[in-house]
């Protein structure tokens, strides 16, 4: 009975960290996607310089651990007199880092798109903006929605690392509850379960969308 009430109390406290995880993920996902679209377009362009810049961006962010990168942003921005507070720092770090992964995903989507689509659009006189907005991006993005959702799972998991700059998200709250209750085993099981529910849910949605996307793309 004591155990049960402990679990109940701990779970309540820990779950209050859930909203910040979701807020961080969503508010970083949008700029990361924007970065990914720009990076993906650059990476699949015919100009070598643009391809090089996109490639370098991806390479650096794939080699440096995210934890390291948060510290770099956290200590780096004040160096240039930019003071944005820990939450914005976390969002910037998440967006920049995941933008690199999304660049690779979107580049893959763009390269996978039939060249004829773009050529036909040129032939009937579409401008670059029209081609991207109406022809290329909708088709390329549609095909990679499942991969983007998969990326959002990694993002949820990476939010656990922003506790190092002092944000009270799920993992940090877990540690605080451990200090208060001295029940690390139970508390971290609950924390892990909370992440599992979030990520597994996203994975489930991704899998269902994948089946639908495949149906749509095979119809074309």
């Amino acid at each position: 009975m004591v155990l049960l009430s402990l679990v109940y109390d701990a779970a309540g406290l820990i779950l209050s960290g859930m909203p910040i995880v979701i807020v961080l993920t969503i508010s970083a996902f949008i700029p990361a996607l924007a970065l990914g679209v720009v990076g993906g377009l650059m990476g699949s362009s015919s100009y070598r310089l643009l391809r090089f810049i996109a490639g370098l961006y991806v390479y650096i962010f794939r080699s440096v651990p995210f934890l390291m990168f948060i510290f770099l942003v956290y200590y780096g921005l004040p160096y240039y007199n930019v003071d944005i507070g820990p939450v914005t720092t976390a969002i910037v770090a998440l967006a920049l880092s995941h933008g690199a992964y999304m660049t690779e995903i979107i580049r893959g989507g763009l390269l996978g798109l039939d060249k004829g689509q773009n050529e036909a659009a040129i032939a009937i006189g579409f401008t670059l903006t029209q081609r991207l907005r109406d022809i290329v991006l909708p088709q390329a993005l549609m095909a990679i929605i499942p991969s983007l959702l998969g990326q959002s799972i990694l993002m949820v998991k990476d939010t656990s690392l922003v506790s190092v700059v002092g944000i009270s998200e799920l993992t940090r709250l877990g540690r605080e509850v451990v200090i208060r209750t001295n029940e690390p085993f139970i508390v971290f099981t609950i924390v892990a379960a909370a992440y599992f529910v979030l990520c597994f849910g996203l994975e489930w949605i991704a899998r269902r969308l994948e089946a639908r996307v495949r149906k749509i793309t095979s119809r074309q």
Partner: protein, 223 residues
């Protein structure tokens, strides 16, 4: 900024190099152990449709859907409640193995599943037992094709050693933190560590490229 970072590195090279050594050691231990554990798990997942296969599937799902930081905390703070107390470094190796084992299990399963069905059918027709089929036909063919992905996993392991910072193992990130605390030049201190990670990655990627060029594999398997 880079000149200051270089001075800092040169002055505190002992700390950085010890951090590098610890990170590489932990990652190497993690890789070897998770190759065994993950390889075995992958083979079980590939060949068993029963309970064993399901257990592996749950293991993979748990690892993939929880942050590694929580796994580290669970092993470091949670397991002592069950009477298992590990040093910080040992925790790191166990966490890296536990985490990477799941990914290697998936890589191994993918490699085995990619072998044409005809190979299994031919082996069956020849009357080979399941054990011989695995040991002599499937694994020898899968191993070289998954090697690039395994190297990718090693890069991931080295990146994951950064999490050991949170339980005070002196690795590359902690080295930067220590140097920063001593000199108050945090940005430069972290920049040095960043560059160390990039250099490790560049070297490993060059090795993979070399291997792939020799073996003539396509690059699309790279993680």
């Amino acid at each position: 900024m880079f000149a200051a970072a270089y001075d800092l590195f040169w002055h505190y090279r002992d700390i950085y190099l010890r951090g590098l050594e610890n990170a590489l050691t932990a990652a190497a231990f993690g890789l070897v152990l998770s190759l065994f554990a993950g390889g075995l798990a992958g083979i079980i997942r590939f060949s068993s449709k029963g309970t064993a296969g399901r257990v592996v599937a749950i293991y993979v799902s748990v690892v993939r859907n929880t942050p590694m930081l929580v796994q580290v905390y669970f092993i470091y703070f949670g397991l002592p409640a069950l009477g298992v107390t590990l040093s910080a470094f040992a925790t790191g190796v166990v966490a890296l193995t536990f985490n990477s084992g799941a990914y290697i299990a998936e890589i191994a399963r993918g490699g085995l599943a990619a072998i044409p069905q005809g190979q299994t059918e031919a082996a069956m027709a020849l009357g080979l037992s399941r054990r011989v089929l695995l040991a002599r036909v499937l694994i020898p063919q899968a191993a070289p094709t998954i090697l690039p992905a395994i190297t990718g996993q090693f890069v991931q392991l080295i990146k994951d050693t950064s999490l050991l910072y949170t339980i005070a193992v002196l690795e590359i990130t902690k080295a930067a933190d220590d140097v920063g605390n001593e000199t108050y030049q945090f940005l430069e201190a972290y920049l040095v560590s960043c560059l160390i990670y990039v250099v490790i990655c560049v070297v490993l990627n060059l090795l993979v490229d070399q291997y792939e060029r020799r073996a003539g594999f396509s690059r699309h398997r790279r993680v």
